[in-house]
């Protein structure tokens, strides 16, 4: 029989349902695998000490006929989502020892659906970064090549899913932070429509852009996770009262008759030619499965990164004003009085990238510069939003784009070059600025053996279309085991066979 950790989430749920394994066995198999492989990858920053107890409680619910849709499924949670009673540090020294009093709504809904939390995953501090190098825990390494970054900021979640340290994970996406690491690690990652998933308990970075999303090995697994976490929440006024889709059915319904647009601005000189070729291969495959491929134009695409970095940092500078060392988090004392305590706490507690973004955002909002930077970026945001409205309004169902300009880069390659790092978000920030959903799906490997991701975009609340096309791409490019992982899967723990 296939080892527990080899199973994708839906297959594991079927086995749990058939009582062929217990939630406790599944949880133990994953914990053993984390113990064997994670010391080299560092995707998980904290295990849930209650995981086995929660798994046993799940088994008891199943035995009592009270199973939820994800009953017994192990999950990992990005460490910027609040978990009641389990430290949530956001990769930042300023939140050392912070233990939330409540679960984030997305986490609470996973628990209510029966999921078992394995632990918390690494991230760039406050989700600010594209490589998971800016974390107080150190970088998370890419399971395809540990000399490379896992992407960011949900790099821990992406690497954990790719290395099969968890069947699924939650991440958050403000400018590509689910989709870009998914692409770098060769897994599926979804940024839902803004408002689809409650942000309550997601530690705020840029509130008009942040969205919680699933990472998984299979498109249908991501769909099941979305179904569990979505829906309006009285505690998030921006969560939308929108009807859920039938995501599972969408994954099986094919692409016959769908109009899929290739936006020409995404195939620019910054794009690695190998990724461009892979994308055209995907387009060809979708055409073969019955979709119609057409070229479209999104004329304001090139302004998305500068607009994003003004708006996201402006919002961050305001959101992060709450870290003053008074009511929670860490305080660095200063003899010179209260203002010095603020300055020292924030200057010491925040890492260099977070400080850089707070500074940029403060500048963009400051007197004399507000209109030129923040005001202008807001207007450009409206134009980017209108580009998408025009494309989807004229009959395009789904846009097919690269997820990233390059495959995973080397550790340290861009760490001290912030602008280069920001430009790695070239193809993902647009969806956040427009509020539309985006799905990243693996599209094969580069000649170097690194994953290539393709991104699918649809109109607001049209996640079903993304799942239709994503599942079609997946049929052509099924998930593969990362090279390094395949080489290190020795011993029963690493193979997840402990419970056989």
């Amino acid at each position: 029989m296939t080892g527990i950790t080899d199973l994708d989430a839906l297959a594991l749920l079927a086995r749990l349902e058939a009582r062929e394994c217990s939630a406790l066995e599944a949880t133990r198999a994953y914990l053993a695998r984390i113990g064997a492989l994670d010391p080299a990858l560092r995707a998980i920053v904290r295990l849930n000490p209650e995981a086995e107890k929660e798994a046993s409680a799940s088994d008891a619910r199943r035995a009592g006929g009270r199973s939820g849709p994800l009953e017994g499924l192990p999950v990992a949670i990005k460490d910027n989502l609040a978990t009641a009673g389990l430290e949530t540090g956001c990769g930042s020294a300023i939140l050392d020892g912070f233990v939330p009093l409540e679960d984030a709504t997305a986490v609470a809904r996973l628990r209510a659906a029966g999921a078992v939390i394995l632990g918390k995953t690494n991230l760039d501090e406050f989700a600010m970064g594209s490589s998971t190098e800016h974390s107080k825990h150190g970088p998370t390494r890419n399971p395809w090549d540990p000399g490379r970054v896992s992407g960011g900021s949900s790099g821990g979640s992406a690497a954990a899913v790719a290395a099969r340290l968890t069947p699924v994970a939650l991440g958050s996406d403000t400018g590509g932070s689910v989709r870009q690491p998914a692409a770098f690690c060769g897994v599926v990652g979804l940024k839902p429509t803004y408002g689809r998933v409650s942000r309550y308990g997601l530690i705020a970075f840029a509130s008009s852009l942040d969205q919680v999303g699933p990472l998984a090995r299979r498109v249908a697994d991501a769909a099941s996770l979305l179904a569990a976490i979505e829906g309006p929440d009285p505690r998030d006024a921006t969560s939308a009262p929108h009807a859920p889709g039938d995501y599972t059915a969408a994954c099986a319904s094919g692409v016959e008759g769908l109009r899929i647009g290739l936006p020409r601005e995404y195939f620019d000189p910054a794009l690695d030619p190998e990724i461009a070729r892979a994308l055209h291969g995907v387009a060809h495959e979708l055409e073969r499965q019955g979709a119609r491929i057409e070229e479209v134009s999104l004329p304001h695409t090139r302004y998305s990164v500068p607009a994003y970095y003004v708006l996201a940092t402006a919002e961050a500078s305001s959101n992060l004003a709450r870290y003053d060392g008074l009511r929670f988090g860490t305080r660095w004392p200063a003899a010179e009085g209260w203002e010095a305590v603020y300055r020292r706490t924030r200057g010491t507690g925040f890492g260099s990238e977070v400080r850089r973004r707070i500074m940029l955002g403060t500048f963009a909002l400051s007197a004399g510069y507000h209109d030129r930077f923040y005001g202008k970026a807001q207007r450009v945001r409206a134009l980017i939003r209108r580009d998408f409205a025009d494309a989807f309004g004229s009959g395009t169902d789904v846009l097919l784009t690269p997820a990233t300009p390059t495959t995973a880069f080397r550790l340290g390659e861009k760490a001290d070059r912030p602008l280069e790092m920001y430009l790695s978000d070239l193809y993902t920030t647009t969806a956040n600025l427009a509020g539309i959903p985006g799905l990243c799906v693996p599209a094969g490997l580069s000649r170097q053996g690194l994953p290539v991701g393709c991104q699918l975009l649809a109109a607001h609340f049209e996640e079903c279309r993304l799942f239709r096309v994503g599942a079609a791409v997946e049929r052509a490019f099924p998930p593969e085991t990362p090279t390094w992982v395949a080489q290190h899967e020795t011993g029963p723990a690493a193979r997840g066979a402990g419970a056989e």
């Binding site: 020892g97 912070f98 233990v99 009093l101 309006p232 009285p234 006024a237 921006t238 969560s239 009262p241 304001h300 302004y303 500068p306 607009a307 970095y309 003004v310 500078s317 004003a321 003053d324 060392g325 008074l326 009511r327 929670f328 988090g329 004392p333 200063a334 009085g337 209260w338 203002e339 305590v341 603020y342 300055r343 020292r344 924030r346 200057g347 010491t348 260099s352 400080r355 850089r356 707070i358 500074m359 940029l360 403060t362 500048f363 400051s366 930077f373 202008k376 970026a377 207007r379 450009v380 945001r381 409206a382 134009l383 939003r385 209108r386 409205a389 912030p418 602008l419 920001y422 509020g435």
Partner: protein, 95 residues
Amino acid sequence: MAIDRAEVGRIARLACLDLDDPAIDSLARDLEAILQHVTLLDEVDAARDEAVLPDLEPAAALRQDAVRPSLSQERALQNAPEAAQGFFRIPRVLD
């Protein structure tokens, strides 16, 4: 757009961040390079499109203004760096 050490100092005061000398120097360089990239936005004549934004903004949902249970004092203080006698203990603000 030139960003010098004095400008970094001005922003750092607004942002309430203590920065050492090397940090000030590297921030001056980084902010200048990033803002140079942001000037790309100057190419866009967005003025004529200003009416676009409100049309596409989703309406915010409102909830009932109802009294609900809230955190106990003890739980509210649970993550405080310093607490005493049921209060947050903070640095002295009056001399």
